[in-house]
């Protein structure tokens, strides 16, 4: 049987019907990324308490529709524990709308060793439905985990070349 090839970029037009495995749609907007905002930091943050402190990762985004979802992705590098027994840190993503008080969206934990090669990376993510078109602030905070109180923890630990690691937060508005 002869094999027929179709040049998809030139030989196919129109919409593939749902019955043939297509969507049947002539346009498709849900899931489209409407905007992306990023912040990053190479400033080391060293903390010694179980109360939360800001780590310099914060963005403001104004959703274009109340139905939009906000995908929050943080990449927190160079988590280092300075305690001979190792330790654990905790991190949370917070949201604030138009100058109100911050709401905790999600919390995460990570355990760290003591040696220089036991540096962790924590990457919290959260899909938020803010239900607003007002400016929204998302930020990352960190603390030592309860039960570990000696020594310190650090985000953006120093690298062998003397520089400091980079952490970032990215938010995307997703049309629904």
């Amino acid at each position: 049987m002869a094999l027929t090839t179709v040049k998809l970029t030139a030989g196919v037009t129109g919409t593939l019907p749902a019955g043939n495995g297509g969507t049947g749609a002539t346009s498709y907007s849900p899931g489209k990324v409407l905007q992306v905002i990023e912040d990053d930091s190479t400033t080391a943050t060293t903390f010694t308490d179980t109360t939360y402190v800001d780590v310099g990762l914060q963005v403001t985004i104004t959703p274009s529709a109340t139905s939009s979802k906000i995908l929050v992705m943080a990449n927190c590098n160079g988590w280092k524990c300075n305690s001979s027994g190792g330790g654990a840190g905790q991190m949370r993503i917070q949201w604030d709308q138009a100058g109100g008080s911050y709401t905790n969206l999600a919390e995460y934990e990570g355990h760290n060793g003591y040696a220089d090669n036991e540096i962790n990376n924590i990457s919290p993510m959260y899909l938020h439905s803010p239900n607003t078109t007002s400016a929204s602030i998302y930020k990352v905070q960190a603390a030592q985990l309860n039960g570990f109180s000696s020594g310190s923890m650090r985000m953006n630990n120093r690298q062998a070349d003397g520089g400091y690691m980079r952490s970032s937060i990215i938010v995307m508005e997703i049309a629904v």
């Binding site: 060293t46 010694t48 308490d49 109360t51 939360y52 402190v53 300075n82 008080s101 905790n104 120093r158």
Partner: protein, 69 residues
């Protein structure tokens, strides 16, 4: 492990169990006052509350660091 200003401050804080957060590595007293916050409590959402005073200066901490190197 790299000994730096934060490690020196941890040593100084052990006596009275002071807790702190340090942003970056200050190089003088002005930077120290901006980037080192001593924690004296927490709010209902477990956010750190910071003291208006600092129990240690940059110079004291730098002296401690030099003695550790």
């Amino acid at each position: 492990m790299i000994i730096d200003l934060a490690e020196a401050l941890i040593e100084l804080c052990k006596t009275d169990n002071h807790k702190f957060v340090m942003y970056g590595m200050p190089t003088n007293q002005t930077e120290w006052e901006v980037n080192v916050k001593f924690i004296n409590g927490k709010d209902e959402n477990n956010n750190a509350l910071f003291s208006d005073t600092q129990p240690f200066t940059y110079a004291q901490t730098k002296t401690k660091l030099d003695s550790m190197l």
